[in-house]
């Protein structure tokens, strides 16, 4: 009797397992068929951090995705199908982001997926999406860890993060000896976006004879930056490179430096100052003067597609070009990459989209040209350094670039 029970139980378990496998295979099959019935919308799913630590960036990404969808729908959608975006919040959680993409694919049956915000979330998200055979085009997962995971479905339209600080480091190294700073401090959050940037810059700056007087990392979950910033201030370096992922981190360091009456000659943060009004509102426009940030895009970019997007953004949300968060453009470019891939492949087949994006094709976007290498990194963008100068956010180097403005050096005194 017991043996029969065990047999039935084993059969039951096997049936459930087979049913699950069948469901998964048919779900993947549905995505790879790549056809959508006439008159039906194309459903694109994305998980964004609409609350939690990355909520400001996540919301800017949502604006970028929605702006692109509205523009594309005005042109007739994708291959005649209206675009419906299904955006869910992951609360900045690396666990929730996986659940979200699994649900978007297996329950909501989205046709395509767009990436989340930050490298921290992109890696687990891309792995989850990869299991279903979906492509993940994203604009905020440029850390080396994302590309070293052996995934073939992830494509980052933005600047690979490791090279972000190179123009700044090269500018420091190029200064005449009399102007070149003698000391530098590096302080960075333990985040896959920030940490890889620092050693690349340090190598160039060290070779130019600039002495490192402080190099420390702080946990990404830190809430009290005062002792860290005070320690940096007491090292009294002439230049500070801060590996930050958000506005509060930069704001806390700026405030602590000012309170310690310490004003480095140059101060660059890996993220925060590129967030337009979100940055100046937090730190005060006057104090933003001289603050620098690396990126591949800014609101004043002369790229025609970018100018059009910025005009549309201002029309919808108000403000000026300097107020537009770089996240908006990064998200918008994701939509443009997918538009090109769908048009070129003539459908929504993720396998064909992945193959197309790996084909070495160059796609034009608001960020400039996009071309992916075998790892999914965009090999086309040029890294720039941007600086707040008064109420303007301007490109300052590479100095050889025709669009570059003269760098404000030394940085003006704190003004609050």
């Amino acid at each position: 009797m017991n043996r029969r029970k065990e047999l039935f139980r084993a059969l039951g378990v096997t049936s459930v397992a087979l049913a699950t496998l069948f469901t998964l295979s048919t779900t993947s099959g549905a995505s790879s068929s790549g056809t959508i019935a006439k008159g039906q919308p194309v459903l694109i799913g994305a998980s964004l951090s609409l609350s939690g630590d990355f909520s400001a960036d996540g919301t800017a990404f949502q604006q970028g995705y929605e702006l692109w969808a509205a523009d594309q729908n005005a042109k007739g959608g994708l291959l005649g199908h209206k675009i419906d975006l299904k955006i869910v919040s992951d609360a900045s959680s690396a666990t929730q982001v996986v659940t979200n993409y699994q649900d978007l694919i297996s329950s909501d049956h989205v046709n395509l997926t767009f990436g989340p915000f930050s490298s921290l979330l992109t890696l687990p998200a891309a792995k989850a999406v990869s299991r279903y055979g979906y492509a993940m085009v994203e604009g905020a997962g440029g850390a080396p860890s994302v590309f070293q995971a052996g995934l073939t479905n992830v494509f980052d339209s933005a600047l690979p993060v490791a090279s972000g600080l190179v123009p700044f480091a090269q500018w420091i190294a190029s200064l005449p000896k009399s102007q070149r700073p003698k000391t530098i401090a590096y302080v960075t959050s333990t985040d896959p976006f920030t940490e890889p940037q620092i050693p690349v810059a340090e190598k160039i700056i060290k070779a130019a004879g600039v002495k490192t007087v402080y190099y420390k990392t702080f946990p990404a979950e830190a809430t009290d930056y005062t002792p860290i910033a005070d320690a940096v201030a007491s090292a009294n370096a002439q230049v500070v490179i801060l590996g930050s992922v958000d506005v509060p981190t930069v704001s806390a360091f700026m405030q602590a430096f000012e309170q310690a009456h310490y004003n480095p000659k140059a101060f660059i943060a890996t993220a925060g100052p590129d967030q337009g009004a979100a940055f100046t509102k937090a730190v005060g426009l006057a104090n933003a003067d001289g603050m620098m940030v690396p990126n591949a895009w800014f609101g004043g970019s002369k790229n025609a597609q970018s100018e059009k997007m910025v005009a549309e953004y201002i029309k919808k949300y108000g403000g000026t070009a300097a107020d537009v968060n770089a996240d908006v453009a990064e998200a918008y470019s994701v939509g443009q990459v997918i538009t090109a891939a769908v048009k070129a492949t003539g459908g929504f087949d993720n396998t064909k989209i992945i193959k197309y994006l790996h084909s070495g094709v160059t796609i034009q976007s608001v960020l400039g040209p996009v071309k992916f290498n075998s790892l999914g990194e965009n090999i086309k963008p040029t890294a720039f350094t941007f600086q707040w100068q008064g109420s303007n956010f301007v490109e300052v180097n590479p100095a050889t670039d025709p669009g570059a403005t003269k760098i404000l050096y030394p940085k003006p005194a704190w003004k609050n």
């Binding site: 919301t59 990392t217 946990p219 830190a222 002792p227 806390a252 309170q259 509102k281």
Partner: protein
């Protein structure tokens, strides 16, 4: 290691820790009297910060002067929340249910704050926020000194209320044994409501200092609540003295570790201390029932 930086970290820790202690005091008072774990305390701190922000930006009211409005406002908010939601929680599952209910309250408030103020970070501004004074060679920020003074005054007022007033005696009696307190004529229900109001009111002050020293949005509450819970668990759930000691102790040690071994070890140390102390004294530093208000 730089000796100057180490002394500076101790000063930073004491000044910042007192503000955390003030925020944690509300949390521990609520737990002590009501057996409720208010995980919405973090969002009430942020609500206090946003109220100060609104008064400052829209009406030009100084951050400290504004407390005359924000503290009573949050007291009333606390009274309403307690009467409408928390007073209905009864029975053996009260503590667990309170976590769920206060979490739900926190999500609702977070959603409202995001709608009203957007998710963009803001920071409170006043002439004293970025300035500092030099004392024995150390630059001490005015905002931290003022925050420390505010914490001392409010904690002193709370102490006076608990030990020198008739209401305070009712609170202490309710804390010791609610049934006995009711038998001697104390209206335990009213005492609980007022204590919840007070617990939330102190977040107005904590929120103002937090908002002046950190760029914040509604989601900043998540970072806060984990720290506040650690402080009250370490100090002893329900012990105001414990919250004060643990707040100052934890933040000071964390700041010192940041300077001695590096910032990356500071958060780890924060939680390591909690584990070590709880393994020796599971009830926390001041966690004995008879010493809850010590």
């Amino acid at each position: 290691m730089n000796g100057t930086a180490l002394i500076h970290s101790i000063i930073d820790g004491i000044l910042t820790g007192s503000v955390y202690a003030l925020m944690a005091t509300g949390l521990t008072l609520i737990f002590g009297v009501m057996n409720i774990i208010n995980v919405a305390q973090g969002i009430f701190v942020i609500l206090g910060a946003y109220l100060s922000y609104a008064l400052s930006v829209h009406f030009g009211i100084d951050l400290f002067v504004g407390l005359a409005i924000t503290i009573p406002t949050l007291f009333l908010v606390g009274i309403v929340v307690e009467r409408v939601f928390l007073s209905r929680i009864k029975g053996p599952e009260k503590v667990v249910m309170s976590i769920l209910v206060t979490y739900a309250i926190s999500l609702v408030i977070e959603g409202i704050l995001n709608m009203v103020f957007s998710v963009n970070y803001v920071e409170l501004q006043a002439w004293y926020v970025d300035r500092s004074v030099r004392v024995f060679g150390y630059w001490l920020p005015y905002i931290y000194l003022l925050g420390f003074a505010l914490a001392v005054v409010l904690l002193g007022a709370l102490y006076f209320m608990l030990y020198r007033t008739r209401f305070g005696a009712s609170v202490r009696a309710s804390l010791a044994d609610q049934t006995s307190a009711a038998l001697v004529g104390i209206n335990v229900k009213n005492v609980s409501t007022i204590c919840f109001g007070i617990g939330i009111a102190v977040t107005a002050a904590g929120g103002m200092i937090y908002g002046a020293t950190n760029a914040f949005n509604a989601s900043s509450s998540y970072d806060l609540i984990s720290r506040l819970l650690v402080i009250i668990v370490l100090g002893g759930m329900g012990s105001i003295g414990g919250a004060l000691a643990a707040g100052v102790f934890m933040i000071t040690v964390e700041d010192m570790v940041s300077v001695i071994w590096g910032p990356v070890w500071s958060s780890l140390t924060f939680f390591l201390i909690l584990v070590i102390i709880l393994s020796v004294r599971p009830q926390g530093i001041f966690g004995k029932l008879e010493a809850r208000l010590a």
